[in-house]
Symmetry: C2
Subunit: 371 residues, 2 copies
Amino acid sequence: MPAITYELIKRCSQTGARAGIIHTPHGSFETPIFMPVGTQATVKTLSPEELKEMGAGIILSNTYHLFLRPGADLIREAGGLHSFMHWDRAILTDSGGFQVFSLGDLRKISEDGVAFRSHIDGSKKFLSPEIATKVQMDLGSDIIMAFDECIPYPADHDYAKKSTERTLRWARRCKDALVTDNQGLFGIVQGGIYEDLRRVCVDELIDMDLPGYAIGGLSVGEPKKLMYEVLDYTASALPANKPRYLMGVGTPDCLVEGVKRGIDMFDCVFPTRVGRNGTAMTWNGRLIIKNAEFEHDFHPIDENCSCYACRNYSRAYIRHLVRVNEIFGMRLLTIHNLHFLIDFMRKMRQAIIEDRFGEFYNEFAAKYVLK
Amino acid sequence: MPAITYELIKRCSQTGARAGIIHTPHGSFETPIFMPVGTQATVKTLSPEELKEMGAGIILSNTYHLFLRPGADLIREAGGLHSFMHWDRAILTDSGGFQVFSLGDLRKISEDGVAFRSHIDGSKKFLSPEIATKVQMDLGSDIIMAFDECIPYPADHDYAKKSTERTLRWARRCKDALVTDNQGLFGIVQGGIYEDLRRVCVDELIDMDLPGYAIGGLSVGEPKKLMYEVLDYTASALPANKPRYLMGVGTPDCLVEGVKRGIDMFDCVFPTRVGRNGTAMTWNGRLIIKNAEFEHDFHPIDENCSCYACRNYSRAYIRHLVRVNEIFGMRLLTIHNLHFLIDFMRKMRQAIIEDRFGEFYNEFAAKYVLK
């Protein structure tokens, strides 16, 4: 029995949307799902209990950051990331590829891997498919990601082709390096905005028979229309019996479009980051809680929301906290935004199960204001 | 029936220490007690539920800060501070005197009150005994403090005398201005380091028959020995049937000395502030959690502590969070430090009830390392 398995529960009759369950060594969770991001072994401002209260079944953490501080050895010594951070549900870790490739002049790429300088103290470091896999084995995450290059946008076909081929060679090396039974390696489909490259990449990854596949290299600055086009042909080419994860996407409009195309998993720092900056996410779009219009507003952020913040606090109070830079304001908005997204995914799942996802999609589009 | 009453449960046979219960419109709490400080209508980083879990029965909030932001009108409109900040236990608010007198060149004192400029935007403001009382009535705190001058250290006898006389005149004006039955006004004993002034101040405040008395103007830079001397003659002169509150004191050694002299209530930003800066309080003294010695330390801050942080997290994890500036690290240390102090007071109370406070005092002194 593989560490990670996908159970398809229901498929939408009009779109590619699907409801499922993913089973991991640290519990099962329903899909489609949004994964809160805990970059440095903590989802910023929150406790694990708060994440559980809102129904989070899996969180994401970050190989690059943990590799630098506190180091994978220390976390292995602590008994793994679950034990270290007191989180007993599933964890997915990214491979660090995205971060090291973002370092620009601080990194040098070879076939072997990426030599780079720490963004913290400038010290020399090296990540390769083998090291990134080993680090993630030390972390003990349930789902580990292959070490890849996230191709920037724009990139020409020649660059994208060479990069994608290397990403595939690296994926094979990651697979070879993974020597535990209780972790599952997801491959990452790259290929930029080129259909031929995406298709080749999908085919080769399918040949590797991994327990799940991610789509990387999207939401990196390309127009949304183009992102949806790439998603169309990429997601539909992925096998139906494996989970599909769209990396780095977390705004409601993109989540709906992703689910519509059959994506099961999403992550993004968006809800936590904008929460810390004073923005609340709602079914009607974003609220900038600092705005003067909320000064005397004693209603919750959202009357229909059942999160801890909406049950107990007014917009006026949260606005006050944000204005005076109180951490509790960041906490309340982080709680609300993550609760909102988890609930948003749950409602999409329910619509899929009741075969009315098309309706859900139209209602959402009519109500949601893009800002 | 006055809003605030004190019930004496037990008096130590060897020292002035006493165990009691204070009754307020928002519940009763056992004394001696430490009050967490929630300057801006939030105890920094924490939720009210976290404060309740550690057994906090009363918190302190700040007239000066709330007067400036969000303003007393807004909080009155919200139904008072309890409702605004979702805290249904007792609240004590200071009068703002301490803050406006600390403004130096930004303030001008007259018999009427203090004209000052906001430290935030420089706008002109005015606080007087009547306004400070009215603001605290708007806030709806259970215990409101008289508007006073906290005499700096050092100050000569002449200045201290004039200031203390004004503080007494202002206390009478506060009493006249308070026109609700569900709030209790505490007078503040000033007088600097001068026994004659402290005694006159105590006598005149007793004449006013207020429901409680605070000792102000200590822990403002004077040597600890001198503070304890002033406490000796001041605390013992206060009536036994009223609560006694020593303002601005929150380190374990000073708490023990205060309780020994019959103090019932304390507040200080110390535990929350040092927590946010990476320091944990323990029965053996302070731990600087960032220190390299804790890197591989997978024990809790204190094996015998039952706080949320000690039940679930290691020193190594908290050290990691502090090093990478994660807010959750500040939360865990704030929780631990406040839990520690509340538990510390509880243990002192138990010792008083069992008439072994002298023993407790000696054991504490033998164990606790002052740093």
